[in-house]
Assembly symmetry: C2
Homo-oligomer: 113 residues x 2
DNA sequence: CGTATGGTGAAGTGAACAGTTAATTAAGGA
DNA sequence: TCCTTAATTAACTGTTCACTTCACCATACG
């Protein structure tokens, strides 16, 4: 399940929903089952499941089966990537960094923005 | 057009598209007209306009009319907000900060996640 | 004036999204 | 075995998204 690794779009998309952000906030204070994660929200379980799938696709959570429970744990690496992108686009960051970035992008031949 | 100010969803949504991220990247090195921004992309002008509208709604750009040109400039405040959210959800941040956050959220009575 | 240039508005399309209900799988306990 | 609990899958619905084309508005210029 080694997600595409450089899909910032997926991460930002995952973060664009308040429910999913709340889930991440919740998970920051420790792993939780789907039921526990669902509890604060007035929506059906399948809806919760789908939100979790989005988070999983973005690499933001891992689900491990524990009997009939799925224990969800937070993975912060994608947040690091997202943070890196944002950080280098605000404020007066090092211009050299931008140049380096561009060179790398050229090599990979991808439009990662 | 003083956007809702606390709409992280809008900002993250804006960042979830590679075209829009590329536009932001471009704007980091100075203001640009719509035409200049459109140049790298193989899509119609109205499509560009719509992307710019999303960026504007998120507070990420400002458009000022200059004769028949619209000069777009980057606004980084929303990126600061986005960064703040991400920063406090990755790594082992100060727990007190979370508590403070929660208090503030209670006062405003909003679910900002 | 007429016409080119820069950009937006409006309407439509297909795909993705966020939610629903109903059915299904899987494990635990009586 | 039967029943309950935990969670997912499947199928469907309404909305939003990312485009398109065509029409429009505004400014500069001959």
């Amino acid at each position: 399940m080694t997600r595409t690794a450089d899909d910032l779009s997926g991460v930002f998309h995952a973060l664009a929903d308040p429910t999913r952000r709340a889930m991440i906030s919740r998970l920051r204070q420790g792993a939780a089952t789907v039921g526990e994660l669902a509890e604060p929200f007035p929506m059906s379980r399948p809806a919760i499941s789908q939100h979790l799938k989005v988070l999983e696709r973005a690499g933001l959570i891992e689900r491990t089966a524990d009997a009939q429970w799925r224990r969800c744990t937070l993975r912060t690496e994608p947040l690091d990537e997202a943070s890196a992108w944002v950080e280098r686009h605000r404020g007066e960051w090092n211009e050299r960094f931008d140049l380096l970035e561009e060179r790398l992008r050229e090599r990979k031949g991808q439009t990662n923005a």
